[in-house]
């Protein structure tokens, strides 16, 4: 009855193609951005710092370095809560980590990521309601 709840078979494939498409030039560009932004981030504060951390996190994510991406995106939200691309990517990464923890039966890690996803819901609520 609810056949439309089914996963589209072509979607995971799309993700892999995106990863493959990362050219050497793009990789180098991303790495340069990261190292440049890392220097910049320490001098910034508040919203600006959050923005730079978000950019670093998104670059790491594009490179496929998920743990580094999570670390930077968490710092971004700590500096200033927002619901941009960084937020969406972080939620997606948490969910991926949650699924991996479930597959290897790691209860502790599973609980950590479920809790982090809960916190993301809280962030979304607070930002939408204008809590500063």
């Amino acid at each position: 009855m609810f056949g439309f709840g089914k996963k589209k078979p072509n979607e995971p494939k799309k993700e892999t193609t995106e990863e493959v498409l990362l050219t050497v030039e793009r990789k180098e560009e991303l790495l340069r951005t990261i190292s440049f932004k890392k220097e910049e981030v320490n001098q910034a504060a508040g919203e600006k710092q959050a923005k730079i951390y978000e950019e670093i996190g998104l670059a790491f994510n594009e490179l496929g370095e998920e743990d580094h991406a999570i670390d930077s995106l968490e710092k971004s939200i700590q500096a200033k809560k927002s619901l941009g691309n960084g937020y969406k990517t972080l939620l997606k990464l948490y969910n991926k980590k949650r699924a991996e923890a479930a597959k290897v039966n790691n209860e502790e890690l599973l609980q950590i990521y479920l809790k982090k996803m809960d916190q993301m819901m809280q962030v979304s609520k607070e930002v939408t309601r204008g809590v500063r």
Partner: protein, 429 residues
């Protein structure tokens, strides 16, 4: 034998004890340490007692409100509050144990359905499952079900809803978020899909369809920053205006030595206090059970799609949330005045439902019908989510509930399933 009798008659009849024992069993099965088992069980019991205390405060305030409203407006004024319904069902109606067991049964059925069918949704919003368990238990009880049948039927229906609602929403959620690995787990989905349908019918089409997200809107509602403050913003004027309409002569008979308007003000705050205490109890009560369930569910269904609370969609369409909130509020205010004309009770508007359910519905409306769809769809949604709870009022009244009705429309739909289908079927056979 006398020991067994004592246990059955004096201990197991106490809902708080039974619930603590269920939590204890769960913690033992998870091989937790003795310390964790004891603290977890006690916290669960404490949670239930705090919830009951909150319920008593709410009921006290609602009884007062019921009196002044009937005097002032010569009709029944109903406050939509799923918390008030849950508190009264668990406490005053003595269904606490059955609700707790149904709550667990919903979890179990959710896991079974997700494990063995292609719908891999695991509903992660524990509080919403408690509200669903409340409604299936209350209406199952009203339909004549008792004991194991009450719990199993409730668990099955709740479990089906826990999978079906995210499944129904998923085609929309996929378009909104651009991904398929997260779902929406919020028991207001019937309303969302309803708004999406209305917006599709009346909204902009083709090139004329413009998204709300292209507009510049003021992004924040300061008075909504805190759940309890936003409750107060609605309840305080509501109580004071109602007391004024009831008149000094009548209202003073209820307020003793205190000025009648001051008393109304204090009673409105008292309602908010009750919700505050009740939700603190719910958090304690669920704090031990829910994480354990999630862990088990995720391991038993390794390719599960987690169904998360409605704020999961807010970042994808923030303007639509604002439009949805405003239009749903307008729709529910229209319904408040229109429904009594048709002999239904007056359902007073609930700010929090309008925000969370309305905001999310706005995202659905904008998706299918653009700005026009979100606006018209939102108003119709507000009317719809006020109409459904109004249909339950007679049943709630006959069961002894005081001046309240449920909010989340999926739980209301489950209740109507009992009232219109299961109940009559049970009576027929």
């Amino acid at each position: 034998m006398s020991v067994v009798n004592f246990i059955i008659e004096n201990i197991l009849t106490q809902a708080s004890v039974t619930i603590a024992l269920i939590a204890m069993l769960g913690l033992i099965l998870q091989k937790k340490s003795t310390g964790q088992v004891i603290s977890g069980s006690l916290k669960t019991m404490l949670g239930f007692m705090v919830l009951s205390a909150g319920s008593s405060i709410i009921v006290g305030s609602l009884v007062y409100f019921g009196h002044i409203f009937t005097e002032g407006f010569h009709m029944q004024g109903i406050i939509p509050s799923i918390e008030a319904i849950n508190g009264q069902a668990m406490n005053e109606l003595g269904l606490g144990r059955d609700i707790a067991l149904t709550f667990l049964a919903i979890f179990v059925f959710n896991i079974i359905i997700a494990r063995f069918t292609k719908w891999k949704y695991i509903f992660l919003t524990g509080q919403a499952i408690l509200w669903m368990a409340t409604m299936t238990t209350v209406f199952g009880y009203f339909a004549g079900l008792r004991g194991v049948a009450l719990i199993l039927v409730g668990g099955f229906i709740g479990g089906v809803f826990a999978v079906a609602m995210p499944a129904i929403a998923q085609p929309f959620v996929r378009k909104i978020t651009g991904m398929d690995d997260i779902a929406l787990g919020h028991f207001c989905t019937v309303g969302y899909v309803f708004e999406a349908g209305v917006a599709k019918l009346v909204g902009g089409k083709g090139e004329k369809k413009k998204s709300v997200e292209d507009l510049k809107l003021p992004a924040q509602f300061e008075f909504l920053q805190d759940t309890y403050l936003s409750l107060m913003v609605v309840m305080t004027p509501l109580y004071i205006i109602t007391a004024a309409f009831a008149g000094e002569k009548f209202a003073s008979t209820l307020s003793g030595d205190t000025n009648y308007l001051m008393f109304a003000f204090l009673q409105s705050i008292q309602f908010v206090v009750g919700v505050y205490v009740l939700l603190a109890g719910v958090r304690l009560l669920l704090g031990e059970i829910v994480p354990a369930f999630r862990g088990i569910a995720m391991r038993l269904v390794p390719n599960a799609i987690p169904a998360l609370d409605c704020p999961v969609l807010f970042p994808f369409s923030p303007n639509a949330v604002i439009v949805g909130f405003i239009t749903t509020t307008i729709g529910s205010i229209i319904a408040m005045f229109v429904l009594p004309v048709f002999g239904l009770a007056m359902i007073l508007p609930g700010m929090l439902t309008a925000f969370f359910a309305g905001g999310t519905a706005g995202i659905f409306g904008n998706l299918t019908g653009g700005i026009r769809g979100a606006i018209i769809g939102g108003v119709v949604h507000g009317f719809f989510i006020t109409l459904l709870p109004a249909l339950l009022v007679t049943t709630f009244n006959s069961m002894g509930f005081v001046n309240a009705t449920a909010t989340d429309v999926d739980t209301v739909t489950a209740a109507l399933l009992y009232a219109w289908l299961i109940g009559p079927l049970l009576k027929a056979f």
